[in-house]
């Protein structure tokens, strides 16, 4: 990154007068002091006004009793005390955490299996890769609507089960609290497989082919090869995907929102953290101070995960 005019000048031996001039010119990448800041201005303006600034005001708001229509006063930790006794916060925390715990293992393993299946140049592999990636580019809202149709009382899934006489009664995928949560998790996995698959494909391409040859020579079967060559070869990527998918799972919003029709489920039983923030912090009755406190809790959880990711990425880059 750092341009190195110094080293270039030095390598050329004793500086003639011309070299000195070149060197002075090269040292200054621009003539006017403000030039870099002009380049940076639009980006920094947006980032400071809409991301970094709001972060600090969220921290500040979290310790006030502000409402949308009424600026509040400093109340210390009262918002956080209230959180501890708020059943909906407990539900949201539980749902988002469960979401993470259930979804992440699938996101780490299934896409790897998919990637091994579609890697290589077999016929149709390009088609399979595209098919797997298609759900990724779709909005959670569209995906939610599609699965609302499929999982409805008389949706395709229930009709297929009914036809096969597996069930006597339609399964209440969209009305039962736990079934709805697991349905949403399934939808999230369905949407995300292709994304992580592509990341794995890149990692697979970096595994030394000689290792596969050696495994074949030793008579290792497909499954054995998968566990003793492929999995160790993508271990770093697995860690990365574990964290990426944890963060994504904890933030879940769109799928659950649409599957519950925006209600958060019967009695709010399917609220997630993001849904709770959206609920508490918007609308005319918005309790912005309280919503900021919820945001801060969420930030701490996600921040820890993101930091872990950065460290992992750094370690990988240094390899």
């Amino acid at each position: 990154m750092s341009s190195s005019p110094d080293t270039i000048a030095r390598r050329e031996g004793a500086p003639s007068r011309r070299d000195v001039r070149t060197r002075q010119q090269a040292l200054a990448t621009h003539r006017w002091v403000a030039t870099p800041w002009l380049f940076l201005a639009p980006a920094l303006l947006v980032i400071v006004c809409f991301v970094v600034g709001p972060f600090f005001s969220t921290v500040q708001l979290a310790f006030t009793d502000s409402l949308l229509l009424k600026p509040g006063e400093f109340v210390g930790l009262r918002n956080f005390e209230r959180l501890l006794g708020d059943a909906r916060f407990g539900t949201a925390m539980l749902n988002s955490t469960l979401y993470m715990l259930v979804v992440v293992p699938f996101m780490v393993f299934l896409p790897l299996v998919l990637a091994t299946l579609v890697s290589g140049a077999g016929r149709f592999m390009g088609f399979f890769r595209t098919a797997a990636y298609l759900p990724v580019i779709m909005s959670p809202v569209i995906v939610g609507l599609i699965w609302t149709n499929l999982l409805a009382r008389q949706g395709l899934v229930n009709e297929v089960f009914g036809t096969l006489s597996v069930i006597a009664q339609p399964i209440p995928f969209l009305t039962d609290r736990w079934l709805l949560l697991f349905s949403a998790m399934f939808v999230t996995i369905w949407m995300g497989l292709g994304y992580y698959m592509v990341i794995y494909l890149a990692a697979l391409a970096n595994i030394d082919p000689a290792l596969y040859d050696a495994a074949a020579m030793d008579g290792a079967g497909r499954i054995r090869t998968f566990f003793s060559v492929t999995v160790p070869g993508v271990r770093n990527t697995m860690g990365l995907i574990g964290i990426l998918s944890s963060v994504a799972a904890f933030r879940v919003f769109g799928e659950v929102y649409v599957l519950t029709g925006g209600t958060g489920g019967v009695g709010g039983g399917n609220l997630t953290m993001t849904m709770l923030i959206q609920r508490e912090g918007t609308g005319l009755q918005a309790q912005t101070g309280y919503a900021a406190a919820i945001s801060l809790v969420m930030f701490v959880v996600l921040g820890a995960l993101l930091l872990l990711q950065l460290i992992l990425q750094q370690r990988q880059a240094n390899r």
Binding site: I8, P36, F39, T58, G122, S139, V160, G254
Partner: protein, 301 residues
Amino acid sequence: MSALDTRAVVTGSAGSRPPRRHRPGRRRGEAASRAGRYIALAVMVIVLAGPLVWQLSLSLKGDGDDLYARPPQLIPTDPTLQNYADVLDRVPVLQYVLNSAIVAVMAIVGNVVGATLAGYALARLRFRGRPIALGLVVAALLIPIETVIISQFLVVRGLGLTNTLIGVVLPTLIAALNVLLMRNAFAALPDELDQAALVDGANAWQRFRHIAVPQVKGVITVVAIFAFVGSWNDFLWPLIVLSDESTFTLTVGLNRLRGTFTDDPTLIAAGTIIALIPIIIFFATLQRFFFKGLESGGLKG
């Protein structure tokens, strides 16, 4: 893709290697494992693409179709486009599409221009305060949008931009991730490129515009694609900012299909297919960039 193709030797199972000729049993095993592979792939396609195909089928079913027939029928017996006409008639879907398109274009332009400029300064210009600027960008990357969304709303409200498309696009007009992507792209260019231009007396803008930018067109494309997909699919933020139907983006508008047509899956299906057409065309045309973008480290968390 070529890097992936080299692995055909490994995972593909054409039995052309000498030792295998002596082991017919092994070859039969290969054929079975190859069949197994394609069966697994077929299951994958059914699970991943099946729901879309079913949705398309539903959207074309007419009055003569029994939606709840057992076994379910994939091919409509009474095909019609009436569902599409009905949805367009009852919900201003085209207005939503237009709004989404406006937001997406602004997001693409903002991200491409803003991130490219900032990325260039961070990578190729040396100035006091660069670590601070870089620190701000990295910090922004570490702040999940959900956790600041209430404050973002207060800012946009303070600017009087709620219920406007500008208000929708502002917070993601230039994403920190894209700035870092561009910075890395510019940083990877050889130093000699700048040296030569400096000797010729080119100023920062000229070097940026005529020397650096043409070298990173691939990454700019990736940034544009991410900006488009991100903006087109965004839901939480527009849901918070927009309250007037005439300003709804596609995701916010379609979300209401769930409530409006609960009893008529064919209408919901038609609505989703309309919404999917632009993004699928977009994906089909620019497919190779999607995969390239992900591989080049454009990880969106």
